[in-house]
């Protein structure tokens, strides 16, 4: 079934190496893993059929040392290399070296990796197949003037992005025209430092957008299988923390567009193996192609849980020349959520928390699956990824999945390192995430979430609450909370422990936009009938030599636009009204 494959070398570590080892075992293949010195004895070295030491402490000496990895694979008698994710998984040069050594590369062809791995060329492919895309340049821009011209034509805000960037590095968002030159310069500078190349392109930025992606598998015979959508909006510093499948609350028409676009992009690039096509979906439902990940992703298990398709097994089968068992859009059953357990300290801005895992209690029971790369006694260093385990839960619907997730989090205990478990605990009680309408977006965790203080577990007398003062949320211990009952107390408890936007939000959303100050209108960015999203700049009033952006407090359609560039306006003079979108 897997053709010529007999022994698979896993060029990775941690939970994904364990995951590949297990898939090999399921297929009757032999697996060989490798390890850097700090990983000696960790689960991926123990569970594999064999494991080879790569001398060194750092990633550069070990999991990133392409030549050493190929040599080790050959010496171990492997006939295929699985790169996992991260490290060299998206390095087309490494794939070429693996192939040149006569080994099978478990992944797409180097050409397909190049075509879809570079953001600019991936955008070109996406544009060619008609994938939804916010306005943007299809080649790197030459200077800030071009960015300004783009903003003039397509409106603000705009994102300046490094062509080779990722994880939010080399990304800048300009909300006003005036800040474009500075932001452009700093994006280029960061891109040069981080990626060695300063090319940046520009696109319209979608505020409060969700991250929605499509999991695809493709075989050599042209068969493509879509395993539905995932939502990965809960992120910190552009790194995902919680993922779920299918993406909740998407209109069917949009879901179909995303599926079809993903298939078309993969077909166009001659893509094979597992891949993910990522999109942003704005608060107004606008979808925009983001990028393609040419590898298996951390969050693949949620798609497996709702389709029953083993993504890693299929990767290995495809690499061995087999065809997909089914093609088309796979039906989805139930709902799955993945919680990443990272060794990070959420109370200190998610900085890595190195240490030795002194105690580890993993959850179980119905609907709970754990992918774990550490054991008690494992050390978690600063040199590698801070992901130590993933808790994946399945339920017949989202509510059941979330209930099981709450149970799983309560069962999980990690001592010796700080983890993001408190964030999961809070998130799973937060109406923005658990409510009927998903209100999280990719900046939600950083902008709207505040960690509750540690240890307010049931049974303790004091309850910790979170109260919003101004635009910030602050933690506060509340001694009497558990003993007080009644509807008002329940409401207070809800507001103090949940995310409760409550009455504490800033400002009153208003359908009438007025000038904040007496001054002159220097820019008008909309016209009657134009749809604007929350936070979008409608006009700019200059006063006291300062630009005052007038932003939409609610999403809607512009009506009764009352100002033009050059007009002098009094404080509180009407700018325009925002009426409900008839299309929404």
């Amino acid at each position: 079934m897997t053709g010529a494959l007999g022994t698979v070398f896993v060029a990775n570590r941690g939970e994904i190496a364990v995951r590949v080892v297990r898939a090999c075992r399921d297929l009757g293949l032999r697996s060989v893993t490798c390890y850097a010195d700090p990983d000696a004895g960790s689960p991926h070295t123990v569970l594999a059929d064999a494991s080879v030491r790569l001398p060194g402490d750092t990633a550069a000496e070990t999991y990133l040392a392409a030549d050493a990895l190929v040599r080790t694979a050959l010496a171990a008698g492997a006939d295929a290399v699985h790169p996992g994710y991260g490290f060299l998984a998206e390095d087309a040069g490494f794939a070429e070296r693996v192939r040149a050594a006569g080994l099978v590369w478990v992944g797409p062809s180097p050409d397909a990796m190049r075509a879809l791995g570079d953001k600019v060329s991936a955008r070109a492919v996406a544009r060619a197949v008609g994938a939804p895309m916010a306005a943007g340049t299809d080649r790197p821009v030459t200077g800030p003037g071009e960015v300004e011209a783009f903003a003039d034509e397509h409106g603000l805000p705009v994102a300046v992005k490094a062509a080779r960037g990722g994880g939010g590095r080399g990304l800048r968002v300009a909300w006003t025209r005036a800040e474009i030159p500075d932001l452009y310069a700093s994006a280029v500078r960061e891109a040069e430092q981080a990626f060695g190349a300063g090319e940046c392109f520009v696109e319209r930025y979608l505020p409060r957008a969700r991250h929605v992606e499509v999991q695809v598998l493709a075989d050599d015979a042209g068969g493509v299988l879509v395993l539905g959508t995932r939502d990965c909006s809960v992120q910190r510093r552009h790194q995902k923390l919680v993922e779920e499948a299918p993406a909740p609350g998407l209109p069917d028409a949009l879901r179909t567009v995303l599926h079809d676009s993903a298939v078309a992009i993969c077909r166009h690039a001659g893509y094979t193996g597992a891949g993910t096509v990522e999109f942003l979906v704005g608060a107004d439902g606008t979808a925009s192609f983001l990028e393609v990940n040419t590898r298996v992703q951390v969050e693949h298990p949620v798609s497996e849980e709702v389709t029953g398709i083993d993504v890693v097994v299929e990767q290995l089968r495809i690499a061995g020349g087999a065809r997909l068992p089914v093609t088309g859009v796979h039906p989805v059953a139930g709902h799955a959520v993945e919680l990443r357990i990272n060794a990070e300290d959420p109370s200190r801005g998610f900085v890595p928390s190195p240490g030795t895992v002194a105690r580890l209690r993993l959850p179980g029971g119905p609907g709970v699956r754990v992918e774990c790369g550490v054991a008690e006694g494992s050390s978690v260093g600063l040199g590698f990824d801070s992901l130590i385990a993933k808790v994946v839960v399945w339920g017949r619907d989202r509510d059941q999945a979330l209930a099981r997730a709450r149970r799983a989090v309560a069962e999980t205990e990690v001592e010796g390192v700080r983890t993001v478990l408190p964030v999961h605990r809070d998130l799973l009680r937060d109406d923005a995430f658990t409510g009927p309408e998903l209100r999280v977006h990719t900046r939600w965790l950083e902008e709207e979430y505040v960690p509750a203080p540690d240890g307010p577990d049931v049974g303790r007398r004091a309850t910790a609450g979170v109260v919003r003062v101004g635009r910030r949320r602050l933690a506060v211990p509340l001694p009497g909370m558990p003993s007080i009952t009644g509807p008002a107390a329940d409401a207070a408890r809800e507001a103090l422990t949940g995310a409760g936007d409550g009455a504490g939000g800033a400002g009153i959303p208003h359908d009438l936009l007025v000038s904040p100050i007496q001054g002159s209108v220097v820019r008008v960015l909309v016209e009657d009938g134009r749809h604007v999203g929350v936070g979008e700049v409608v006009a700019v009033v200059e006063a006291m030599k300062m630009e005052n952006p007038v932003r939409a407090g609610v999403a809607g359609v512009v009506a009764d636009l009352a100002v033009a560039v050059g007009d002098s306006v009094a404080q509180d003079a009407p700018i325009c009204r925002l009426v409900a979108d008839p299309a929404a």
Partner: protein
């Protein structure tokens, strides 16, 4: 004190005391105590916590010591005479509490209720206890007018004590219901008022009375609601969704303030700012570009510690308490993203009031300057912008706590002065590399200085060239190095180092003391 809401005026006749087996004996006291602790069921609102639950939420467990529980115990309809008074602890620290019971005649003030409030305030004065007011009162109980209104132990004595307590101990108010007529002054004399939306209101005369007297037709929410007071009148500080949130915020705020003027605020363990990284361009180089100063404050203060004061009112000025390496500081910052960050009449008042609060309770001040000046124009002059600006300058210059000035970007005109310019003796004046200081922007000052010359240049190109050259001269005059070289600023600090620099300088000022002037007090340009 004028007439209160008339729902308290329509009083039933006094109910005869229940006939105890031994009148006024031990059994009667037990029964009366139990009945007061149970409280009245009638008149409970689903959206309000019962008064004793409010206390449980505010105070550490088992810390409540109550006085006058048996007030008016002969009458079943007036348990505790509608107000609870006593002493409890918040995070271990003693506080005096006044809590109105809205189920008892709408929390109205009668003779005994006033006496209880007077006594606890006298005690707070004597023992230097912070006071927490859980206000929910329809005002004076009109059928007990002689009891609460004209005499020496009535409402006027309460207000007298509140004023005498001001600046002596912190006074924190949760407005959980109405504070009507004369009672409206109770929140007004406190340092901070948190209000529950939908339930809280503050007004001198109800809409009904207003309509009778002036013909104006309005609603309670419009003339005295929580949002109106937090956003328009400035009489309130913040709006909350529930009693629990307002009380939680009061607990939190008490943690930033000392027990009295004699103490300094307690430090806690430091925590890292969130987020900590200072991205390029957070404070834009372009002096005209807008940005949110909260993003700057987040990067300076300990994570999750910024307690903004009056966050909804006069938002071109940001004021709030925060922790810097665990120590409490007051932040006064211009907000470039609102109304150009210029200072208006209300924002001057807001800053003056906040500075006074910090100075009263030994909280060092950090001024974050990015100000184009006081707002100009006929509208603000008619509102008395000069008088209000002078008030802010008076408050700032009178504050004896250590003051630190940081010029984030532009510091122009009298705005630079009011935000604690070097002449007002801040402990230090620091500048970010983006700082410029001047009487006005270079363009504006060239246009003012050379108005006649510019007007005389008829050739457009020549005129533009002339202006450009003079602007360049002005910019050179206002340059950063010059500010350091001429000792205008004490140090130029990279943004990423600002927090550490402020922490060092705050620690260095730890031994500060007051220098008393020989006068009674300044004459404030109110």
């Amino acid at each position: 004190m004028t007439a209160a809401e008339s729902d308290t005026a329509a009083m039933p006749e006094p109910v005869a005391p229940a006939a105890p087996t031994a009148p006024g004996g031990r059994e009667a006291v037990r029964a009366a105590t139990a009945s007061v602790l149970t409280g009245l069921d009638a008149g409970r609102w689903p959206s309000k916590l019962p008064v004793r639950d409010r206390l449980a939420l505010l105070l550490d467990e088992d810390s409540w010591i109550e006085d006058g529980l048996l007030a008016n115990a002969g009458r079943d309809d007036l348990p505790a005479d509608g107000v609870l008074t006593g002493v409890g602890r918040v995070e271990g620290r003693r506080v005096a509490v006044i809590a109105h019971d809205y189920t008892v005649k709408a929390g109205s003030w009668g003779e005994l209720g006033c006496e209880k409030q007077v006594r606890i305030l006298e005690r707070a004065y004597r023992d230097l206890l912070p006071v927490v007011y859980l206000v929910d009162s329809a005002g004076g109980r009109l059928n007990d007018q002689m009891g609460f209104f004209p005499g020496r132990r009535g409402a006027s004595r309460i207000f007298h004590l509140q004023v005498r307590l001001s600046g002596r101990v912190p006074q924190i108010c949760c407005l959980l219901g109405p504070s009507a007529a004369g009672g409206a002054y109770m929140p007004a004399f406190t340092d901070w008022v948190g209000m529950v939306e939908g339930n809280a209101s503050m007004y001198l005369a109800s809409p009904r009375i207003a309509e009778k007297v002036t013909g104006e037709v309005t609603t309670l929410e419009e003339m005295g609601g929580a949002r109106m007071h937090a956003e328009v009148s400035g009489c309130g500080d913040e709006v909350f969704g529930t009693d629990g949130e307002a009380i939680a915020a009061a607990r939190l705020l008490l943690g930033y303030l000392p027990g009295s003027y004699r103490e300094r605020p307690a430090a806690v363990a430091a925590s890292a700012p969130e987020p900590a990284a200072w991205p390029d361009g957070l404070v834009p180089e372009d002096p005209n570009a807008s940005y949110d100063v909260l993003d700057v404050i987040d990067r300076i203060v300990d994570g999750g510690s910024f307690f903004e004061v009056k966050p909804r009112w006069a938002t071109e000025m940001v004021t709030g308490l925060a922790r810097l390496d665990g120590e409490v500081v007051g932040i006064v910052a211009n907000q470039p993203s609102v109304r150009s960050g210029a200072i208006f009449v209300d924002s001057a008042d807001k800053a003056a009031r906040f500075i006074t609060l910090c100075d009263a309770f030994n909280v060092p001040l950090v001024f974050l300057q990015d100000v184009p000046g006081f707002m100009v124009g006929a509208a603000v002059e008619r509102q008395g912008i000069i008088r209000h600006g002078a008030k802010m300058v008076t408050a700032m210059a009178s504050a004896e706590v250590p003051r630190f000035t940081v010029v984030l970007r532009k510091a122009y005109a009298a705005g630079y002065y009011a935000m604690c310019a070097p002449g007002f003796e801040p402990r230090a004046t620091l500048a970010l590399p983006t700082a410029t200081i001047g009487t006005m922007s270079p363009e504006a000052s060239v246009n003012a200085m050379y108005a006649n010359r510019i007007a005389g240049l008829t050739d457009a190109a020549e005129r533009a060239d002339f202006v450009a050259r003079r602007v360049a001269e002005q910019e050179a005059e206002m340059n950063l190095l010059r500010m350091g070289a001429d000792l205008v600023v004490d140090a130029v600090v990279e943004p990423g180092d600002l927090r550490a620099e402020l922490i060092r300088r705050l620690a260095d000022a730890a031994g500060w003391e007051r220098t008393r002037d020989h006068r009674h007090h300044s004459v404030s340009p109110v």
